[in-house]
Symmetry: C2
Amino acid sequence: MRRFVIIGRRATASPDFLLEDLPGTGGRIDVLLRCLRAALLVSHGVRRDVIAYVVLLGGPAAPRVLRVDGALAEYLRPDERSLGTLVKKALARAPGGPAFAPATHGLSMASGGLEAVLADLGPMTPYVLEEGGTDIRAAPLDAIDPAFFVGDHLGLDEHTRSSLAATGAVPISVGPLSVHAEDAIAIVANEMDRRR
Amino acid sequence: MRRFVIIGRRATASPDFLLEDLPGTGGRIDVLLRCLRAALLVSHGVRRDVIAYVVLLGGPAAPRVLRVDGALAEYLRPDERSLGTLVKKALARAPGGPAFAPATHGLSMASGGLEAVLADLGPMTPYVLEEGGTDIRAAPLDAIDPAFFVGDHLGLDEHTRSSLAATGAVPISVGPLSVHAEDAIAIVANEMDRRR
């Protein structure tokens, strides 16, 4: 199972953001919504072998993690507003608690930050997307159970970096330019599709 | 100069779409907005060496073409609603006419469809993104003046295909799966960045 873990440093963990202003009221949750699309959707379908985690570190309800399971997800549409609506519902409906609990349509929520994700992942090989890492085309990659950790527009903070280093995460770079997180995910997905 | 030409078969050529429902009222103009982001934006910046054309073939004002020149563009933000607002303004303000005329902030408009783009492109090597084409990693690519033609979620129609074939456009594939147009653009951009 391919996993993407996207870390939103200021993205709001409560459902009070406005669909009319996702970037401004959601702590740039728009970045994470686009990452969900890139991780989970292909032409006319959902990648059933992908799980995406979004770590929400912003606002008074933080930290919380949203998990979207491609095998179970329904009503995933690619536009930001539709994805925002779905995430808003999940944030509103999910019971609190450190274990992932179903919220709506294949979306689950847990309290906690990166540690909640690490506890849920099970066996996997961790990679962290980072400028200066090994070029993804040259890197050996676990084709079965990879987990890719991705920062948002602010990048990963020091604490997250050291937590990931402690798991043995391998720094991987997707190319010579620093690109948006969703584009990095598209490039990783392409590489993994090619290796299958 | 790197060019991307994205063809929206039903995307509306008039500014009367709703920002609250881009997919439903804009003939899936949301797809094209995401393509603009993927073509033009990188982390904290605009690709100044890219021009993106969006061919709008839907609604009573069609056909019209929007051109976004990375070298001139201002206020390009990555979220769909902001990009939709910018495109809406350009569609409302642009004078009609077969030549590209400035509308707003580095965005220009022309009446016409693919032929208006072909007349504007100048010297270039054309490529068409297509399943079954030559793998982009194995293809010789013009590093200076490539123009990549991309279909939306409906793919390219027969008339467009034959017009592109007449220009000698080389079919290029980005990978083993059929991915969203914006992801295909991200993968092409990555390949071009690597060849620079």
